[in-house]
Structures are given as structure tokens and as C-alpha cells.
């Protein structure tokens, strides 16, 4: 997993303002996460402050603030597509595991992705590795190699649908 990649060809003033607003929004996000996980106790404040600072720094280091627009309806569509694929394919994997004849046709499939190497491709592989039936197993010549339980399934079409939804949701620039 490679670290950071981003676009630096944006005017400097925009970057600074955008950068500080991502620092603030990420710190608030981590603060909320702390409240959910650990609760609100006065004695915890120093530990919470350190954890939020370290988490924010790490997230900025690993994932540079991007300039692309995010659309909430598209994110909701991506989430529902993801849930639908998970349930359908999860039932499929469970059926194969419990089937006495164990119907597997495992193999590798190369998916020619439109996403650039780096963070975007990593987000895509992470998302698709959660989908039953596909596990990303590296890349070759700009193509992502997926290991599939059944290579006769329309894996490439599902991946393309997922990629299109991801681009509409997060990388619509």
C-alpha cells in the first residue's frame, strides 16, 4: 500500500484554506469517534486530545486533503450498491461452502482500472476486497489482479459498476 498521492497543481491560497478546513473537519470527526467509543469523561480529556492530534496528523500524512467534490447522494448510492453486492455474493459464497460438491472454479482475473495508482486505487481495492467472491492480490501492468472463487461469474462487470459508483461518489473531478 503506497502512502500519499495527490494533485499539487492548485493555487497555493486554495490549498492552505482547504488544508485547514480538512484539519478541522478530520479533528472533529476523530473527536466524535472518541466520544462514541470512550464516552465523555473529564478525566479522559488529556488522553483524548493526544489521540485526536495523533490521529489527525496520521490521517493527513497518509491521505492528503483532495480537491475533488464529494456528492452525498452518490455516496449513498455507492453504499447501497456495496450492501447489495455484499449480501448477494455473501449468500453465494455461503452456498458454495455448504454445498456437498463444493462448486469452486477459483482463478485470477485482471481488471483494467481507470483509477490512478496510489490512494484512489487503494480505496477501490479495499472496497472491493470486502465484496464476497473477490480478493485483490496485487497489480500488473496497470491492471488489478483479483482472485475469484468462481471465474465464470460476471466479476469484471460487478467491479466496473462498483468503480463507476466510487468515481461518482468521491472522485468526481
Amino acid at each position: 500500500m503506497s502512502g500519499s498521492s495527490g494533485q499539487r497543481n492548485v493555487p497555493a491560497g486554495t490549498i492552505t484554506r482547504g488544508w485547514w478546513s480538512s484539519v478541522a473537519s478530520r479533528a472533529v470527526g476523530f473527536g466524535c469517534l472518541w466520544l462514541v467509543l470512550a464516552g465523555a469523561q473529564v478525566g479522559d480529556v488529556p488522553a483524548a486530545a493526544v489521540a485526536i492530534a495523533v490521529a489527525t496528523w496520521t490521517s493527513l500524512y497518509l491521505l492528503e486533503p483532495g480537491s475533488s467534490r464529494r456528492s452525498l447522494p452518490a455516496i449513498a448510492r455507492l453504499a447501497s450498491l456495496f450492501l447489495y453486492h455484499s449480501v448477494v455474493a455473501g449468500i453465494d459464497v455461503a452456498g458454495r461452502a455448504l454445498n456437498p460438491r463444493l462448486p469452486l472454479r477459483p482463478g485470477f482475473v485482471a481488471y483494467p482500472t481507470r483509477l490512478p495508482r496510489g490512494v484512489r486505487q487503494n480505496v477501490f481495492t479495499t472496497l472491493t476486497s470486502l465484496l464476497p467472491g473477490t480478493v485483490p492480490a496485487g497489480e500488473e501492468n496497470g491492471q488489478i489482479i483479483y482472485h475469484c472463487l468462481d471465474v465464470t461469474q460476471p466479476v469484471l462487470a460487478d467491479l466496473a459498476a462498483e468503480e463507476a459508483a466510487l468515481i461518482r461518489a468521491l472522485y468526481n473531478d
Binding site: 455484499s86 455473501g90 470486502l130 464476497p132 480478493v135 489482479i145 482472485h147
Partner: protein, 96 residues
Amino acid sequence: MNLARDIMTIACVSTGAFFFLAGTVGLLRFPDTLTRLHALTKADNLGLGFVVLGLLPQAEGLRDGLKLISIWMFALLAGATVSQLIARAVRRSGAR
């Protein structure tokens, strides 16, 4: 209303347990490391998801509910990243 909540909990947690069972059976029956990896990650994704969904109606408040959902998200994130790393390592080394 309590009855409806309990029924939802029983239904969802049982579904989650079924997916964990199927994942475990897959882990034992599938022939090599990569196919077993499928069985494992899928059990986490759907099995834990249904267990969390079933526990939500029993949560004491909003915070407990959000906590359950974050636990699911963390398990998903960990499973998603680690399964890729294992798959890459297996493919590179040619292990079975």
C-alpha cells in the same frame, strides 16, 4: 414493541451466526490459502454486520448504537486491508 424488537434481534443474530458458520465451514473445506481467505473475510463482513444489526434494537441509547456500528466498521477496515496484504504475499510467494 419489545416483542418486535426481540424478534428482530433473534432473526438478525441467527442470520449472522449462519454466515459465521458458513464462513467457518468454508475455511475448513476450501482447498488453498486464497480461497480460504474469501471464506474468512466474507464471514466478517456479513456475519458481524447481521449480529450488529440484531443488537441495535437492544442498545441502551444512541451512543451504544453508534459504538456497535463503529466496531463493525473497524472490523471491516481491518479485514479489508489485511486480506489484501495476505493475498498479495501468497501470490508473490506462490504458496498454496
